[in-house]
């Protein structure tokens, strides 16, 4: 990426949502970024909610009853999906950062994302049928 200037560029934020002219690498980058933000949001909510454990059995167990709702399970599936997509994308990033598999980067990305989708489907199936 060519850095033309170092001036503050807050409007560049909007260009993250611009799909025009994007190639696979750009989509991979956006996917990683969106899953990162989603997982970060989840992390801090998770930490806060776990505070209920310190309030004793009633607070915690009644919250757990909430988590059996389908909408909640769907939310958890989104987290699982984000984790697989972000993690496997990360594998690609770490390897290519150190020069490994760079010529095959695109195929590698597709292969990893396919793996992620398979994992998500398997998890989704188990989460909704038990």
């Amino acid at each position: 990426m060519n850095e033309k200037s170092n001036l503050p560029a807050p409007r560049k934020f909007l260009s993250w949502f611009n799909p025009v002219g994007r190639q696979t690498g750009g989509w991979a980058f956006i996917l990683n970024r969106i899953t990162a933000l989603g997982l970060t949001l989840f992390l801090y909510i998770h930490l806060l909610v776990l505070g209920k454990l310190a309030q004793g059995p009633n607070a915690y167990d009644s919250f757990v009853r909430l988590t059996h709702q389908p909408l909640f399970i769907f939310g958890e599936l989104l987290v699982v999906a984000a984790a697989f997509l972000h993690g496997l994308n990360g594998v690609r990033i770490v390897l290519t950062t150190f020069g490994i598999s760079v010529p095959y980067q695109k195929q590698f990305f597709y292969a990893l994302m396919t793996l992620a989708i398979i994992a998500i489907v398997i998890f989704g199936y188990h989460m909704f049928t038990s």
């Binding site: 990426m1 850095e3 170092n6 001036l7 503050p8 560029a9 807050p10 560049k12 934020f13 690498g25 980058f29 970024r33 990162a36 933000l37 997982l39 970060t40 992390l43 801090y44 930490l47 776990l50 505070g51 454990l53 310190a54 004793g56 059995p57 915690y60 167990d61 757990v64 988590t67 984790a83 993690g87 990360g90 594998v91 990033i93 770490v94 290519t96 950062t97 150190f98 020069g99 760079v102």
Partner: protein
Amino acid sequence: MNTASAPKSGENVWIWLLKILTGPLLFVLLGIHLIVNHLVGKEGVLRYAEVISYYNNPVIPLMEIIFLATVVTHSLTGLRSIILDLKPSRSILQILDLLFLLAGISAFLYGTRLIMIIAAVQ
């Protein structure tokens, strides 16, 4: 080096290194966290009583604290590099860095304290 993920202007090499090392480390730690929490048995961590007895084993709080430190570090260094793409000015960045540091330390202290509380319940 892949320029999209190399350290960018304003990203100290050590911070970048932290981000890219905690990532793979999380593969292991998150895996352990999820598998162990699942193996506690049917309804395991979904019941207060199970969580308490599970945390009585000292290895568990230790593992969770290490996992917490790693995931908070990865999350905040990642957030920081997203913000860096907006090319904030030097003074804004200094303020943001302070906020990141405070957020990280508070999250870690809060989580560790919570872990200690749970581990102390008999």
